[in-house]
């Protein structure tokens, strides 16, 4: 551990939180139809989108109409991407003649990118043409991110509604978020990345003769443009197998900083935008505070673990403690890799700049636990906000039970109906994670893909399903997932993790929107102070802990004790 390491971790988190205020204010304006400095350029494009699609953008939708439109858009995206991947071999921009994906791999990949997961059962550099990367994956990187972000507007409008106003128009929100926020942000970031060394070319490979006379084939492509939206949209799917550890995706400590800030700042900004639209800025600040506290703690624990002792290194090099650099890059070192791991799993991004599988049991275990907490620290773009709102509803509900009052949050009574939907949403995750993991742990067909034995192997399985259900997309990558069992079950898990959470949230929004807005009284639980932040953190930890502790005890926790034993030898 070094002071520079601690400073890097602290500054990275601080920067991503600080950016959330201007970005959040801008996002709120985009949702509310306010003027932006991009209007002269983008208004005509926006109008063209509505006209071609035959949409009356001023028509507000109910929660069912909005959800229907959202699902239809995602279904169309799924079929298009599935189709592109299947017939890749017949499409242009494919100089290396990569074949089309098998049905199960195309199914898995299409769901993966539509649900903002970006789990990858393939290696980009040896399976995907530039055509598929651009027309297939980049499009869904934008579409899935925008799909998540629009839900922020819906939930915010539901809390802001006085009695039954509409929840907005899906097509309008979708178009505006993409045009005014995601696209300009991506352009700026892509240019910054190229300046730092990320390639942006249509050439797919260059042959080199090394100094010692060997042949080397350098794989490249339009990487910067994909990398930008990959982080901004908390997608996380790498151009290459090595993802953000690849020097072409992430060549310097500066690109690494940009990547980390990009994958967290919009998640925080969604909370700020929510607070502005609802008129609950202080409450939004409390939510951000809870996120930052948990995220910082996680980053600190991972950094501590990754700079501690590893038996293989201690025994061979006779040094302890030494940074665990297996599966890490020299230019990042332990600190930048640890905070990256916390931010990518706190955020449902899933990009990695070091392999979580080679982390210490504690480091890898915390990354896994952050996914299992529901990825709300600050979570994926949009999904983090509605995730933390569900947690806030539980918090006021539990507090309400303690004092015997009907709970309310931001001026809306929280009744049995909302809590039932919230329960439904949070129970889907463990059901699929533990259900499929339990089967995979005993099924020979599934175990063929698992690379490690013992507790580490179980962690590999648990991580895969947690990552899929949480729409994270990172992996304990020793797992060979491109097989019918893994592709199919992980595909189903990703779809459920996204839509079986999102739809109940939309239902909650629909129910809240028609309730009258209450003015706070002396008996109302304040939701903007330290007490509430503590309560919220407690609820998040207890809920995540209760659901997953027994499974974790058989994986990373027992492996941690095995490691201590090996160190003592």
């Amino acid at each position: 551990m070094t002071w520079q390491g601690w400073a890097e971790i602290a500054l990275t988190i601080a920067l991503s939180v600080a950016l959330a205020w201007p970005l959040g204010a801008y996002l709120a304006r985009v949702f509310q139809g306010g003027r932006t400095w991009l209007d002269p350029l983008l208004k005509p494009v926006e109008a063209l989108f509505y006209r071609s699609a035959g949409i009356d953008e001023h028509k507000s939708q109910g929660w069912l109409g909005y959800t229907g439109a959202l699902l239809a858009f995602n279904a169309a995206g799924f079929f298009l991407l599935y189709f592109i991947l299947r017939i890749q071999g017949l499409l242009p921009l494919n100089p290396l003649k990569f074949a089309g994906f098998s049905p199960h791999l195309a199914f898995n990949t299409a769901i993966s990118f539509v649900t903002n997961t970006n789990w990858q059962s393939y290696s980009g550099e040896s399976a995907l043409s530039n055509f598929s990367q651009m027309f297939g994956l980049v499009v869904q990187n934008f579409a899935s991110a925008a799909t998540g972000i629009v839900v922020v507007a819906v939930v915010a409008r539901a809390f802001a509604a006085h009695k039954g106003e509409g929840l907005g128009n899906f097509w309008r929100d979708l178009t505006r978020v993409t045009l005014y926020l995601l696209l300009p942000f991506s352009i700026v970031m892509a240019i910054a990345l190229v300046i730092q060394g990320v390639p942006q070319t249509l050439t797919q490979h260059v042959d080199a003769t090394t100094l010692e006379g060997a042949k080397q084939t350098l794989a490249m492509g339009p990487i910067a443009s994909q990398e930008a939206i990959k982080q901004i949209g908390t997608n996380g799917g790498g151009f290459f197998n090595a993802n953000s550890s690849h020097p072409y995706e992430n060549p310097t400590p500066i690109t690494n900083l940009i990547a980390m800030v990009a994958m967290n700042c919009l998640g925080f900004a969604c909370v700020i935008a929510f607070g502005i639209i609802v008129g609950a800025r202080k409450e939004a600040r409390a939510l951000v505070a809870a996120m930052v506290i948990l995220l910082s703690a996680a980053a600190a624990i991972i950094y501590g673990a990754e700079t501690g002792a590893v038996p293989a290194l201690q025994h061979a090099l006779h040094v302890a403690p030494a940074p665990n650099l297996e599966g890490k890059e020299v230019r990042f070192g332990a600190a930048a890799t640890s905070v990256f791991a916390a931010m990518t799993t706190g955020a449902s991004c899933g990009a990695i700049n070091g392999w979580h599988e080679s982390f210490t049991p504690m480091g890898g275990g915390i990354a896994l636990f952050l996914i299992q907490l529901g990825e709300i620290l600050p979570g994926g773009v949009g999904s983090g906000l509605y995730g933390i709102i569900v947690m806030a509803l539980f918090s006021v509900f539990i507090a309400g039970l303690m004092v015997g009052r009907t709970p309310e949050y931001l001026g809306k009574k929280v009744d049995a109906r909302e809590i039932k939907f919230a329960m439904l949403a949070v129970l889907i995750l463990p059901l699929f994670i533990k259900g499929f993991a339990a089967v995979a742990a005993v099924l020979p067909l599934a175990l063929k893909g698992v690379s490690a034995s013992g507790p580490h192997g179980l962690t590999e399985i648990l991580y895969a399903y947690s990552s899929a259900a949480g729409n994270n997309g990172s992996a304990f990558a020793g797992l060979t997932a491109n097989a019918p069992w893994w592709d199919t079950t992980l595909g189903i898990t990703m779809a459920m993790g996204r839509f079986a959470y999102l739809v109940p949230v939309m239902a909650i929004a629909g129910a809240l929107a028609v309730k009258p807005k209450l003015t706070p009284t002396a008996g109302t639980l304040p939701t903007d102070n330290g007490l509430f932040i503590g309560l919220l953190i407690g609820v998040i930890l207890i809920l995540g802990g209760l659901q997953f502790f027994p499974a974790m005890a058989l994986g990373p926790i027992v492996e941690h004790f095995q490691m201590l034993q090996a160190l003592a030898r």
């Binding site: 520079q4 890097e8 699609a53 035959g54 439109a69 239809a72 995206g77 290696s123 040896s126 027309f135 980049v138 499009v139 990187n141 579409a143 097509w171 178009t175 993409t178 696209l183 352009i187 240019i191 190229v194 060394g197 990320v198 942006q200 070319t201 249509l202 090394t210 100094l211 010692e212 080397q216 350098l218 339009p222 910067a224 443009s225 090595a242 690849h246 072409y248 060549p251 310097t252 400590p253 690494n256 025994h315 061979a316 940074p323 665990n324 650099l325 297996e326 890490k328 230019r331 930048a336 070091g354 599988e357 080679s358 982390f359 049991p361 690379s451 490690a452 580490h456 990558a477 090996a566």
Partner: protein, 192 residues
């Protein structure tokens, strides 16, 4: 649901056009015109214009007069068409075995030196272009002997190419192996 059909199809088509075609192409055009070095992969060429590799991508070096990169698990080693790490868990016996083997070789090569961690651990990408300054220092005696040069002379070249942390805080100090080897060839040509 049917009322959503037309907007869904038209919208995904427009998204494809805008974000899948126009956006990457515009970025490519911009980068190719204004930033052609990095945009084309930071390639290094010899006097005749042949590509010798990329400043960002590790290549294998085994000869004694060259700085050696970190162990690589990309394909059969340093293969940019198969990037990746070992994905060994911390308690995997294969990891302990590999580290012990590499450490034994290194301590024979440079007796008395403390072996830095990055010299015996596989990088994440398998293409890590850098090594730590300590790792470079460890290799200086071998390089000096092979080049009939002196350790301080070699070390001077390595020190010149050592990059510090960005803004004093971000990342770690490092030496780019390919750049250092090109500089070494220039400063003290090895006898063939």
């Amino acid at each position: 649901m049917l009322t959503h059909l037309r907007p869904a199809i038209v919208m995904i088509a427009l998204f494809t056009l805008l974000t899948g075609l126009l956006y990457p192409l515009a970025m490519t055009g911009f980068a190719q015109v204004l930033l052609s070095g990095p945009a084309n992969g930071s390639l290094l060429r010899d006097g005749a214009g042949h590509v010798m590799g990329s400043a960002l991508i590790a290549q294998d070096f085994a000869k004694p007069q060259y700085l050696h990169p970190r162990p690589s698990a990309a394909g059969n080693g340093y293969d940019p068409t198969a990037s990746g790490g070992s994905n060994y868990g911390p308690l995997d016996p294969k990891l302990a075995q590999r580290i012990a083997g590499d450490a034994a070789t290194l301590s024979k090569e440079a007796p008395g030196y403390r072996i830095p961690v990055d010299a015996v651990t596989a990088s994440a990408s398998g293409l890590d272009p850098d090594i730590s300054p300590e790792n470079a220092r460890l290799q200086a005696p071998r390089i000096a002997a092979a080049r009939k040069s002196t350790v301080p002379d070699v070390q001077t070249v390595l020190d010149r190419l050592t990059k510090g942390r960005a803004l004093l805080i971000f990342g770690e100090p490092r030496v780019n192996v390919l750049e250092a080897n090109l500089a070494l060839d220039q400063a003290a040509p090895a006898r063939k």
